[in-house]
């Protein structure tokens, strides 16, 4: 079973829930931290990291001895990563999306792969948990390929918990595709509701089952609850604000280790997720 923990709004408690859930289930599982821009799960799980590999994208470089400036590479490139003039050709490797089109069309074999490091994938263990995260290179613009690479480390058919990035656009999609259930962690505030609606729309577009966790459930108003009821979104858990929780997390500590009630809270969450997952929502087509 693949469970993704996402949110829409940042700072609602995704990593807190994902990490504590993974430890509370106390069974062999794979944890994938797909928030490659700002991975935090390792701070709480403190895995023993055993492997680190750099992940690259193949951008083109021009072999000027072979290039005839025919311009076919520039013509196919949708990202302005190649410029061809009558007697010169240049590439802009930072703009490349790694589609391979230029390599496919060059009649002179005049393109050489020039790797651009997108980031690093690190793997390790913490007890029964297999841990993987990606760290985007600071200065790298393109995020989804590294997320997809982290996802490739999963797929062993067992329990997988994915810590997704905030937002509702391409990084979220890359992180949660193929999940059996997407847990959306939200807060009952206007910002929380606004961003939740965006995330729900994105997850529904993917046809994935959803469930909500409302964090800091007593700080705000009832609009998120009303929205969930209107939309038929199950609320798996409501967690009241507790300053001790904030302080424990601030120290990088696991709640299931420092506050025993959190163990049963996470077990309850896990049971509810299992009950809900496997149900596919109807994918909404644009004309529906």
């Amino acid at each position: 079973m693949i469970i993704s923990v996402a949110s829409g709004k940042g700072g609602t408690g995704k990593t807190t829930i994902a990490a504590n859930l993974a430890v509370a289930v106390a069974q062999p599982a794979t944890f994938l931290d797909c928030d490659v821009e700002e991975p935090n799960a390792h701070l709480f799980l403190k895995p023993h990291l055993s492997r680190s590999l750099d992940f690259h994208l193949e951008a083109p470089e021009i072999d000027t001895r072979r290039c005839t400036f025919c311009g076919k590479c520039q013509e196919i490139c949708q990202f302005n990563a190649i410029a061809v003039l009558p007697t010169a050709a240049l590439t802009f490797p930072d703009l490349c999306h790694g589609c391979g089109g230029c390599f496919l069309v060059c009649p002179e074999e005049a393109l050489i792969p020039q790797p651009r490091r997108l980031g690093t994938v690190e793997t390790g263990v913490r007890g029964p948990l297999r841990f993987v995260h990606g760290r985007l290179r600071v200065g790298e613009a393109l995020v989804p390929p590294l997320i997809r690479r982290v996802r490739q480390e999963g797929g062993d058919g067992g329990l997988t918990i994915i810590d997704a990035p905030p937002g509702a656009s391409c990084p979220l999609l890359a992180a949660v595709w193929g999940s059996d259930l997407v847990l959306l962690v939200t807060e009952p505030t206007p910002f929380g509701l606004n961003d939740l609606e965006l995330a729900v729309a994105a997850v529904r577009e993917m046809g994935l089952p959803l469930g909500l966790v409302i964090n800091r459930a007593d700080l705000g108003d009832r609009r998120v609850h009303d929205y969930a009821a209107r939309e038929g979104l199950p609320i798996f858990l409501e967690i009241p604000f507790d300053r001790r929780v904030a302080e424990t997390c601030a120290r990088g500590e696991l709640l299931v280790e420092k506050m025993p009630a959190w163990n049963s809270l996470m077990q309850t969450l896990f049971h509810r997720i299992r009950a809900e997952s496997g149900k596919k929502t109807t994918r909404l087509r644009p004309d529906e």
Binding site: N40, C99, V105, V138, W177, P190, G252
Partner: protein
């Protein structure tokens, strides 16, 4: 005209709440919500929309079933697993690279422009606001962010406004980089947690990459003073201007629920003084740097 971009690395540290508060300090300024993925600033500013524009960026491939030979070439070329075994392009996975469209031997692929969302020019009680909304699960490549900032700058200059404040997205990827180019300075809002500190270091490194002066504010500082102080030390060591601490306060949430900035919600809150003070300091420091 100068532009202050507000970032954080970590989400949920209080960027938008702070931008709202800065807007409410009294000086008319231009505002830009560059968090096009999950925009929230408009919820505090009650914008009256003056102009609405469609935004298209990139393209998506679409295979015409009746013309498809089912040769399978596109499946072999596609590096994004966007084409199914029955020759349908999944628009959520299509990267818009155009390889299938360019190379299909049957010419069976359409490749239309992709409508990603809408952007808006609006008026608010504090000044003009430029913001946007991306379509469902849209590509967020930074192009829309760049456009919004250009429009906001244009508006600021046209209205003779000295300042543009840009509410940025979390993270360090494409949209954040699009928010940083040619800014005047960056305000990094963080929180006193291990995650906050870790994420601050990455976004601060990106700020350095762009060679921009960085200011740092620790929000909710009383949740963990040792880390709040460690962040201050980090700033001193790395040369970021440390602006101070704000306490955790439910007033921020209560204000938000009422659609107000904290300054309007609770006029006597001491937080308001701290915010006014840090804005004064930012202005002073940037004037020292560039006396024009």
């Amino acid at each position: 005209m100068q532009e202050l971009v507000v970032l954080s690395g970590k989400g949920g540290t209080g960027k938008t709440s702070l931008v709202g508060a800065l807007a409410a300090l009294g000086e008319k300024l231009a505002l830009c919500d560059a968090d096009v993925d999950a925009p929230d600033l408009h919820l505090l500013l009650g914008p009256q929309i003056i102009e609405r524009h469609d935004f298209s960026a990139g393209r998506k491939a679409n295979i015409r079933e009746r013309d498809c030979w089912q040769c399978g070439d596109c499946l072999r070329w596609c590096r994004f697993q966007a084409i199914s075994d029955d020759f349908r392009v999944d628009p959520l996975r299509c990267e818009g690279c155009g390889v299938c469209w360019s190379l299909c031997p049957a010419g069976a692929v359409d490749f239309p422009e992709n409508l990603c969302g809408q952007w808006f020019l609006a008026d608010t009680r504090f000044g003009p606001l430029v913001h946007a909304r991306l379509g469902v699960a849209a590509e967020n490549s930074g192009k829309l962010v760049a456009l919004l900032r250009r429009e906001a700058r244009r508006l600021a200059e046209a209205q003779g406004l000295e300042w543009l404040i840009t509410d940025g997205p979390p993270g360090i990827g494409c949209p954040v980089m699009a928010a940083l180019g040619e800014a005047t300075a960056v305000l990094l809002v963080t929180e006193p947690s291990l995650s906050g500190q870790h994420d601050l270091q990455r976004v601060a490194a990106l700020t350095d990459h762009f060679r921009l002066p960085g200011f740092v504010l620790v929000n909710k500082a009383d949740l963990h003073w040792p880390m709040a102080r460690a962040i201050r030390k980090f700033c001193d060591l790395q040369g970021y201007r440390f602006l101070g601490y704000l306490p955790f306060s439910p007033a921020f949430t209560q204000a938000q629920v009422e659609g107000k900035t904290i300054l309007e919600y609770d006029r006597d809150n001491q937080i308001n003084q701290v915010i006014a003070g840090l804005w004064k300091r930012i202005r002073r420091e940037l004037q020292k740097q560039d006396p024009h």
